[in-house]
C-alpha cells in the first residue's frame, strides 16, 4: 500500500545549522504518527516543510506517492492545526469552517450543509453563528480540526495543539483526538514534546533529537526496547549509571560502575569487555523489600536508606540512598505494604538484568 506521507532523506539547513538532518520516514494510511522531541530538535521544521511553508534544502516529500515539492502550501492535500490554533477571529465558527470550501469555490448551500455536518461530527451542533472568543479551549480545538477536516486532506498535521490547554482538558483531549482520528479515518501527523501525548495517541512514534530521528516505533518499543541512550532517557524516567563492561555472560553483561558497583544488565548493542557503557533502569522496574531474602531472585540487589518519599498518587516514588551514596528513584508500590515507609528507614531494592538496559557509553 502506498504510504500517505513519505519523507526521503529530508535535509534543511539554516545557514550553518542543520535543523533537519537526513530524516526519512513513511506514514501508512489512516495511522496516527507522532514526532516526539525536545524543543529545538527540528520537529516544527519538518512540519513546516510538509505543509509547504519551508522548502527542504534537499530530499523529497511525497504524498500518496507523488512529490509535492513544487506544490505551494495552498494547493497541497495537507492541512495543519496550528499550535495556537489560528482560528480566524474576524469570522464566526461557520465561516471559519467554511473558509477552505469557499476557497474551492463550492456553492453556498453545499458549504452550509458540509459545515453543519462537520459541527455534528465534532459534537458541537448549532454553534455556527458564535464568535471564536465565545468558545472554550477544548471547543476551539475541535473547531480547528473540523476546519481542516471539511477539506478532506490526505494528511492532517498537528503542531502541539494541546500545549495551551490546562492539564485536565489536555488529558481529555488526548482521548478525544484519538477518537476523532478514528472517526475521520485520516492520517494524522502529530508533533509534541510531551511524551505522554505521543504514547497515548500514536500508532507510531519517531523520537527526534538534534535534527535526527533516534528511533521510530510503537510506544511499547520505545518504552521497553529503546535503541539509544537518548530514547531511554527521554521516554519515561530512569536511574542511570556509567561504567565499563567487566564480564560478558551470553546476553547478560556485568558492568563495574564509576562508583564501584557491579551491575548486571542486558545490552542493546554489541559490547565487549572493557567497553564504556551506560545503564538505564526504570524506577518502576525496581522492587522494594523489607528484607534481603525477598529479593534473592534478582540479579541486582542493594540496600539503602529512604531519604524522601515523593507522593504523587499512583506515581509515587521513594528516593533511596544506596551503600555508595547514590540516590535511586524507586516507584512506591500501591499495595499498602510500604504505606508507612518513612525517611531514614532501611530498605532493600533489587531488579533483574533484563530490566536494566545498557548502551555503549561515551566515556
Amino acid at each position: 500500500m502506498t504510504p500517505d506521507l513519505e519523507c526521503v532523506d529530508l535535509v534543511r539547513r539554516f545557514g550553518e545549522t542543520t535543523a533537519v538532518d537526513n530524516v526519512s520516514f513513511s506514514v501508512p494510511p489512516g495511522s496516527f504518527f507522532s514526532i516526539l522531541g525536545p524543543s529545538g530538535c527540528g520537529k516544527t521544521t519538518i512540519m513546516r516543510m510538509i505543509a509547504g511553508f519551508l522548502d527542504p534544502t534537499s530530499g523529497d516529500i511525497r504524498i500518496k506517492g507523488g512529490t509535492v515539492l513544487d506544490t505551494p502550501p495552498n494547493k497541497r492535500p495537507v492541512n495543519m492545526v496550528f499550535q495556537h490554533l489560528a482560528l480566524f477571529p474576524m469570522m464566526n465558527i461557520a465561516e471559519n469552517i467554511g473558509y477552505g470550501l469557499r476557497r474551492q469555490g463550492m456553492a453556498r448551500g453545499r458549504i452550509a450543509r458540509k459545515v453543519d455536518e462537520a459541527l455534528d461530527r465534532i459534537g458541537l451542533p448549532g454553534i455556527g453563528a458564535r464568535k471564536v472568543d465565545e468558545l472554550s479551549g477544548g471547543q476551539k480545538q475541535r473547531v480547528a480540526i473540523a476546519r481542516c477536516m471539511v477539506l478532506e486532506p490526505d494528511v492532517l498535521l498537528l503542531d502541539e495543539p494541546l500545549g495551551a490547554l490546562d492539564l485536565k482538558l489536555r488529558e481529555h483531549m488526548k482521548i478525544e483526538l484519538k477518537a476523532l482520528q478514528a472517526a475521520f479515518d485520516t492520517t494524522f501527523v502529530y508533533i509534541t514534546h510531551d511524551q505522554s501525548e505521543a504514547l497515548v495517541m500514536s500508532d507510531q512514534i519517531a523520537v527526534m533529537n538534534a535534527g535526527r530521528f533516534e528511533q521510530v516505533g510503537t510506544g511499547q518499543d520505545l518504552y521497553y526496547r529503546p535503541d539509544t541512550p537518548f530514547v531511554a532517557g527521554f521516554i519515561g524516567e530512569a536511574n542511570r549509571w556509567k561504567g565499563r563492561v567487566d564480564r560478558v555472560d551470553g546476553a547478560v553483561l556485568e558492568i563495574r560502575t564509576e562508583t564501584g558497583l557491579a551491575v548486571r544488565a542486558t545490552g542493546a548493542g554489541a559490547l565487549s569487555r572493557g567497553d564504556a557503557a551506560e545503564i538505564f533502569v526504570r524506577p518502576e522496574a525496581i522492587h522494594l523489600a523489607a528484607s534481603a531474602g525477598a529479593l534473592s531472585d534478582f540479579d541486582n540487589r542493594m540496600h539503602g536508606t529512604v531519604t524522601s518519599t515523593l507522593f504523587n498518587g499512583a506515581a509515587s516514588r521513594v528516593l533511596v540512598d544506596n551503600e555508595v551514596g547514590e540516590t535511586l528513584e524507586v516507584t512506591l508500590p500501591q499495595t499498602g505494604e510500604f504505606a508507612n515507609l518513612e525517611r531514614g528507614d532501611t530498605v532493600h531494592v533489587g531488579w533483574g538484568a533484563a530490566q536494566a538496559t545498557c548502551f555503549a557509553g561515551t566515556g
Partner: protein
C-alpha cells in the same frame, strides 16, 4: 476618606474641564454666535442666517467647500493605498533592527516643521528645481518644467504630510495579527488576494478606520500645503476661512465657514463609522 477621594477627583477633573471649556466649548459657542449675526451698521448686529445663506448660494464658496471635501477624501484614499504596503512590510516582513530603522525613517521627516517639509517639495518641484533640471539634463524636456501650483503637487504634499498618521495605526494593528493566522489562510487554500481580503484587511480594520479619520481631518484642516503647493484653482476651504477672518475682517462669514467645515468633517466621520460598522470608542480607544 470619602471627602478626600472627592477632592482628588475634583482636582484630577479640573484640568480636563478647563481644557475642554476654555479651549473647545467656549470658543465654539462664541463662533456659533458670531456666525449667526449680521452686521447692520457700525456696532449694531442682528441675529440672522444671512452668513449661511451667503455661504451656500455663492458658487465660489460652495464649489471650494465640496472640492475640499472631495480632495480630502481622495488624499485619504491615496495615503491608505501607499501606507498599507509600507505598514505591512514594517509590521510583518521586516525583522529586528530593520523594523526599527524603517519605522524611524517614517518618523524622521516629522522632526522638522511642516513648513520646512513643504519648502522641500517646492525645491524639488519648482521650475528651476531639481526634477525640472534633471529632466532637461536627461533631454526629456527642452525647457524648464513647472510642476508646482497644481492639484497634483498639492495632493503629493497632502499625502506626504499625513503618511505617518496612517502608518502608525496600521503598523500597530498589523503587528497584532498572528503570523500563523495568515499561514492558516494559505494552508486552507487561500491565495494572496483572498488572504488579504478575508483575513488581513478585516483584522486591520480598526487601524484603517482610525488612520483614515485622522488623515481626513488633517487634510481637511490643512492650510499650509494647499496654500504653498496648490495653484490659483486649488483654493482650499481653510484659505477661505483665513481670508474672511484676517484679510476681509469679516468674522461673521468666517465663523459660518468654520462651522460648515466642522459639520462636514463630523458627517463624513460618522458616515465612515456607520459604513464600517464601528463605534468611535473602539476605533479611537
Amino acid at each position: 476618606m470619602r471627602s478626600n477621594a472627592r477632592i482628588g477627583f475634583v482636582l484630577l477633573l479640573t484640568p480636563l474641564v478647563l481644557w475642554l471649556g476654555l479651549l473647545i466649548v467656549i470658543p465654539h459657542i462664541d463662533m456659533l454666535l458670531i456666525s449667526l449675526r449680521e452686521r447692520i451698521s457700525f456696532g449694531v448686529y442682528e441675529t440672522s442666517l444671512t452668513q449661511y445663506d451667503k455661504a451656500l448660494t455663492e458658487p465660489l464658496y460652495l464649489r471650494t467647500f465640496w472640492r475640499t471635501a472631495v480632495m480630502s477624501v481622495l488624499a485619504t484614499a491615496i495615503t491608505l493605498l501607499i501606507a498599507f504596503p509600507v505598514a505591512y512590510y514594517i509590521a510583518k516582513m521586516a525583522r529586528g533592527r530593520l523594523q526599527q530603522v524603517l519605522f524611524m525613517l517614517c518618523l524622521i521627516p516629522f522632526y522638522v516643521s511642516e513648513l520646512v517639509r513643504t519648502f522641500g517639495w517646492m525645491i524639488l518641484l519648482r521650475e528651476t528645481g531639481l526634477i525640472s533640471s534633471l529632466l532637461q539634463w536627461a533631454g526629456l524636456a527642452d525647457q524648464p518644467v513647472e510642476m508646482l501650483y497644481n492639484d497634483a503637487a498639492m495632493m503629493v504634499g497632502l499625502v506626504y504630510t499625513s503618511m505617518l498618521f496612517m502608518v502608525v495605526p496600521l503598523v500597530t494593528t498589523l503587528e497584532s495579527l498572528d503570523d500563523s493566522v495568515v499561514e492558516a489562510g494559505y494552508d486552507l487554500g487561500g491565495n494572496g488576494l483572498s488572504v488579504l481580503r478575508e483575513i488581513i484587511i478585516p483584522h486591520a480594520m480598526p487601524g484603517i478606520v482610525s488612520g483614515c479619520i485622522v488623515v481626513f481631518m488633517l487634510s481637511l484642516g490643512n492650510y499650509l500645503t494647499p496654500t504653498m503647493l496648490g495653484g490659483k484653482d486649488s483654493l482650499w476651504f481653510t484659505e477661505m476661512i483665513y481670508n474672511q477672518f484676517i484679510v476681509r475682517s469679516n468674522w461673521e462669514l468666517g465663523a459660518a465657514f468654520g462651522f460648515m467645515l466642522l459639520v462636514l468633517s463630523s458627517v463624513i466621520v460618522w458616515g465612515v463609522l456607520r459604513l464600517t460598522g464601528r463605534t468611535l470608542q473602539e476605533t479611537m480607544g
